[in-house]
């Protein structure tokens, strides 16, 4: 389990948002790709996730390229959210 509360929160948010019933959030590798390989999410999953993240964290993802970069991994997503929220999303 990660000691970073934001990463833990994101893992749970991903599982809940996408109804990944067979996946334990703690088992998600924070460095594994979210799209394609790794969790094997597709572009529709990414769309759902982006909508949820924008609401949950009050951030803006402005293009599909930015979305791909942000969703590269859970860790990349955490870094992106911190950068966009000025570090306010750490807990």
């Amino acid at each position: 389990m990660s000691s970073d509360p934001l990463i833990t929160r994101l893992k749970h948010l991903i599982v809940e948002t996408l109804n990944l019933e067979d996946i334990n959030p703690d088992e998600i590798d924070e460095n594994a790709p979210l799209i394609g390989s790794g969790l094997a999410l597709d572009s529709i999953d990414a769309l759902e996730l982006v909508v949820k993240l924008e609401k949950e964290f009050g951030i803006k993802i402005s293009s599909s390229e930015e979305s791909k970069a942000a969703l590269a991994s859970v860790k990349a997503l955490a870094d992106f959210i911190r950068e966009r929220s000025g570090g306010a999303a750490s807990d």
Binding site: D42, S43, V50, S64
Partner: protein, 369 residues
């Protein structure tokens, strides 16, 4: 080889006006796209949209675009169309979905008669006075190609004397919001087939009609291919096989007819991945052909784009010059991308391509009779 059917007429309506005005504006490098709040009166991010002059994004009841569409379709109104041997094919990707959205947001029941597919088509059919023989086609952004292919088959087989294809798509906050949610409609203006860090599209109002006949018209519909790769709802096969499959029969037909000097009017919305795949597929299927696309000036007119851009392409063939990539700027993905105008005076024909969500592809060869 049977004689191909002909394009007896093909006209479009865009924010620039009719076909001639649209071609002239694109040749001058103009763009109809304006930064517009994505949700209309409800605001939201400003994104590039091209609306008919004087039209707001928000829906009225009856739809404000109907009068403009009725005026545009005046040459093909009346009961001669929709008769037994003169069928009408109506195509769109969204029909009256803006009215459904307006009803959902406002609760005003005045919007509901225009919202469903059949309601929207009945509205247009009534306004134009067509007969009963009206068939509706919808397959996202290749909708117009689907209707055109069906019309060509009816005429080619002798089941119809002539056929009318009508396509229309008018923007609404629902449609713009959907593309915005996908992040491909964003604050940037589109630059199809060009190297950029961020891909982006614009959307536009558009309508068009075509008359398909056996023995009148100065252009032939030489070959027409439709293919659905069914790889993913919002993505193409990464190797570009879907594009190649759609282009292959058209390239074969062009070779069989001895048509070697071709140019290509591509789909080119401005997204990076699909744009790269299309650029490469064009080079492989039509070596030496220059590739252009006009959605950077017109916006993506969705289901009507195949017919809207066919009208412009036919006019460009007649006029001797086709606009280069609208909104494009160096560096392009490849050397065959035409950032400047194409001299069509000596060309044998043009390949018009459209692509759609769900992996659908269409390619049409238009050549002089």
């Amino acid at each position: 080889m049977p004689a191909p059917v002909r394009l007896a007429a093909c006209e479009c309506l865009t924010p620039f006006g009719g076909t001639a005005d649209t071609l002239a504006a694109l040749l001058r490098g103009k763009s109809a796209l304006r930064a517009t709040p994505v949700l209309g009166r409800e605001g939201g991010d400003a994104v590039p949209l091209a609306l008919l002059p004087g039209r707001a994004l928000d829906e009225t009841a009856p739809p404000a675009w109907l009068a403009a569409l009725r005026g545009f379709l005046a040459p093909v109104c009346g009961p001669d169309w929709g008769a037994a041997r003169r069928p009408v094919c109506v195509t769109s990707s969204n029909f009256g979905v803006g009215s459904l959205y307006a009803f959902r947001r406002s609760g005003d029941a005045a919007h509901t008669p225009h919202g469903s597919t059949h309601g929207s088509v009945a509205l247009v059919r009534g306004a134009c006075g067509w007969g009963e023989n009206v068939t509706v086609f919808s397959h996202a952004c290749v909708s117009a190609h689907l209707g055109l292919l069906h019309a060509a088959r009816l005429v080619g087989s002798g089941a119809a004397d002539e056929a009318l294809v009508v396509s229309y798509d008018f923007l609404s906050p629902f449609v713009a919001g959907g593309f915005h949610a996908l992040k491909i409609l964003n604050a940037d203006f589109p630059a199809p087939y060009c190297e950029r860090a961020t891909g982006s599209i614009g959307l536009g109002d558009g309508a068009a009609f075509a008359i398909v006949a056996r023995d009148r018209g100065d252009f032939a519909l030489g070959a027409h291919a439709l293919h659905n790769e069914m790889f993913h709802a919002t993505a193409n096969q990464p190797d570009g096989a879907g594009f190649a499959t759609a282009f292959a029969p058209v390239a074969r037909a062009a070779a069989e007819r001895g048509l070697r000097n071709l140019w290509v009017k591509g789909h080119g919305t401005g997204t990076l991945e699909a744009g790269r795949l299309e650029t490469a597929a064009v080079a492989a299927a039509f070596p030496g052909a220059r590739l252009t696309g006009w959605k950077g000036g017109l916006g993506h007119t969705l289901g009507s784009c195949g017919l809207v851009e066919l009208a412009v392409a036919a006019a460009a063939m007649r006029g001797g010059r086709a606009p280069g990539v609208a909104g494009g700027a160096a560096p392009a993905f490849a050397d065959h991308v035409a950032l400047d105008a194409i001299d069509t005076g000596a060309s044998d024909g043009v390949v018009c391509a459209s692509n759609a969500f769900g992996g659908a592809h269409a390619a049409l060869l238009l050549h002089h009779v």
